[in-house]
């Protein structure tokens, strides 16, 4: 492979791409989906609308699963019952995002975190964002609490929780 001086391939420089010195064809689509949430996630969303975080318990391994699911992946059986857990927890890990999902820069950095929810089984939690705190003040294991949207603005979505904030300053 070393003997071959150049490998095949024709790079397109940024200006060539922008000025379209080559022939390009464009196509845009807006793909729409309506995902069935199913029993477990439907129940979870309903709980969020009521300002409650719900998990599912597996009566074999006795874990409380958050986010809830209809099956226990460890035991391979249906989960048995709904369990309401607290809307507090601790930060398992966090980071500070300076970009949007299309790689453009954000005006203001966003703190994102995995939050281990209290009363769920150890290590169980979900992804959310943090508010009312400066990035430099955040640390792993920090206690946090959900800040809910007002009841009449909640629609049964993960964003019914506006963000998590430090439990005490």
């Amino acid at each position: 492979m070393e003997s071959k001086k150049t490998l095949p391939g024709t790079p397109i420089a940024g200006a060539e791409w922008d000025n379209e010195v080559y022939s390009f064809r464009k196509h845009s689509v807006q793909l729409r989906y309506a995902w069935d949430a199913g029993s477990a996630v439907s129940g979870f969303l309903e709980g969020l609308k009521e300002g409650r975080i719900l998990g599912r318990r597996c009566n074999r391994c006795m874990r409380v699963l958050v986010p809830p699911r209809a099956f226990c992946e460890r035991c391979f059986r249906s989960t048995d019952e709904w369990v309401e857990v607290k809307d507090t927890g601790k930060i398992n890990t966090y980071s500070v995002s300076y970009v949007n999902n299309d790689a453009s820069r954000r005006d203001k950095p966003l703190i994102v975190a995995v939050i281990e929810i209290d009363e769920a089984s150890p290590g169980m939690g979900f992804l959310h964002v943090l508010g009312e705190v400066e990035p430099s003040k955040v640390h792993v294991d920090m206690k946090v609490k959900a800040v809910w949207k007002p009841r009449d603005e909640r629609v049964g979505a993960i964003t019914d929780i506006k963000y998590f904030k430090p439990l005490e300053v």
């Binding site: 397109i12 464009k26 845009s28 807006q30 989906y33 309506a34 069935d36 949430a37 029993s39 249906s78």
Partner: protein, 149 residues
């Protein structure tokens, strides 16, 4: 269903609606670029394999059979025959095949003012005026039935 205390009425079943907006800019590729330049000059270019001698449309950087680099691009006279066609909403799309060429082009065929489209009819490419050409297949406006075909 898989949940013992699961949904009991349809109003409880949630359905999450969202969209995935996707926008693309596809490069024509090495062989596509040659083809595009041909179109701008009012030419249909096919690729020729040095090994088996077959000519292909759409043209390709490589021979799909021998899997070696194509040796050449050759001009294909813009006259062909309807291999098959499909009609919907008053519009006809046809696969046009050309003499001595493997493959063909899929394009719009202008329906004749009298009579019906038929498999085997002879057609020719009608190019847009030079200044309107962009280097893609729409540089051919449509194929039309050749008289007395």
């Amino acid at each position: 269903m898989s949940l013992p205390d699961g949904l009991r009425n349809t109003a409880q079943a949630k359905n999450w609606v969202d969209s995935l907006p996707l926008s693309y800019k596809y490069s024509a590729g090495v062989s596509g670029q040659r083809f595009a330049e041909g179109l701008k000059q009012g030419k249909i270019l096919g690729s020729k394999c040095s090994k088996c001698g077959e000519t292909f449309l759409p043209p390709s950087l490589y021979c799909p059979n021998c899997f070696v680099y194509s040796s050449d691009y050759v001009e294909i006279p813009p006259y062909g025959k309807i291999y098959s066609f499909a009609e919907a909403d008053g519009k006809a799309i046809a696969l046009i095949r050309f003499h001595g060429v493997t493959g063909g082009l899929i394009h719009v065929v202008k329906r004749p003012s009298a009579g019906r489209l038929k498999i085997g009819l002879r057609v020719s490419a009608v190019f847009r005026p030079t200044e309107q050409r962009k280097g893609d297949l729409t540089d051919i406006e449509f194929f039309e039935i050749r008289p007395h075909s």
